[in-house]
């Protein structure tokens, strides 16, 4: 079974600085997707960034970028120029690319605090 591990229950960063959230996963599949979701307090989960495992190039979305290391099964999220609105729970998630079940397997999350 696939598992996703986020080893940092909490992280903090100063406004305008850079922070990296860690994620490792375990799978025997060669083709899959990885995601970072953001869940602000009492608000709904939104997709931050996604990575297709077959792509070697790391995904980037504005201030958000990932470091995808397929051999190491590592998928970290870097947030540059942190803003107060980035404060939230961040979940790393895995989805198989085949088999008819695209369910997301989530890690336990990392709570990010942004200090002014």
């Amino acid at each position: 079974a696939q598992t996703v591990t986020q080893s940092q229950p909490e992280m903090s960063v100063q406004e305008a600085e850079t922070v990296t959230l860690s994620c490792t996963y375990d799978t025997s599949e060669s083709d899959y997707y990885l995601f970072w979701y953001k869940q602000p307090p009492s608000r709904q989960m939104i997709l931050v960034i996604r990575q297709e495992a077959y792509k070697q190039q790391n995904a980037t979305e504005n201030r958000f970028s990932v470091n995808f290391q397929k051999a190491a099964k590592s998928f970290s999220l870097k947030i540059s120029d942190s803003q107060l609105g980035d404060a939230a729970m961040y979940f790393c998630a895995y989805s198989a690319a085949q088999g008819g079940s695209e369910k997301l397997v989530f890690g336990k999350g990392t709570k990010l605090t942004v200090n002014p």
Binding site: Q44, M45, I46, S95, K108
Partner: protein, 111 residues
């Protein structure tokens, strides 16, 4: 484009009572998911529908939980009877391809 709608947003019930949650996915999304998110944890899949057929319900406690998706659109999730450990946020999501869009969730408190 309207997002995933869920109701109610909050529900408080006593143990052994029953409760139902409703979800309306994004128009055109064939796949619908129900996740359970216990406080301090990541969401866990309860059931996945493709149109009105069940794809995966391996983690659904079938002795007390049931779900249906009539006509391949709206879905309801029911718990009967509820237990204290069912206190959680129940998230509905829908997808067209591999990207899932989440609703605001229903926060259930069982006392």
């Amino acid at each position: 484009e309207a997002g995933v709608a869920q109701s109610p947003r909050y529900k408080i019930i006593e143990k052994r009572q029953s409760v139902a949650f409703w979800c309306n996915p994004i128009s055109g999304h064939a796949t619908l998911y129900w996740y359970q998110q216990i406080l301090g944890q990541g969401p866990k899949l309860l059931i996945q529908f493709q149109n009105n057929g069940v794809v995966d319900d391996s983690q659904l406690p079938k002795d007390r939980f049931s779900a249906e998706r009539l006509k391949g659109v709206d879905s309801t999730l029911k718990i009967q009877p509820a237990k204290l450990e069912d206190s959680a946020v129940y998230l509905c999501a829908s997808s067209f391809y591999y990207e899932q869009y989440f609703g605001p969730g229903t926060r259930l408190t069982v006392t």
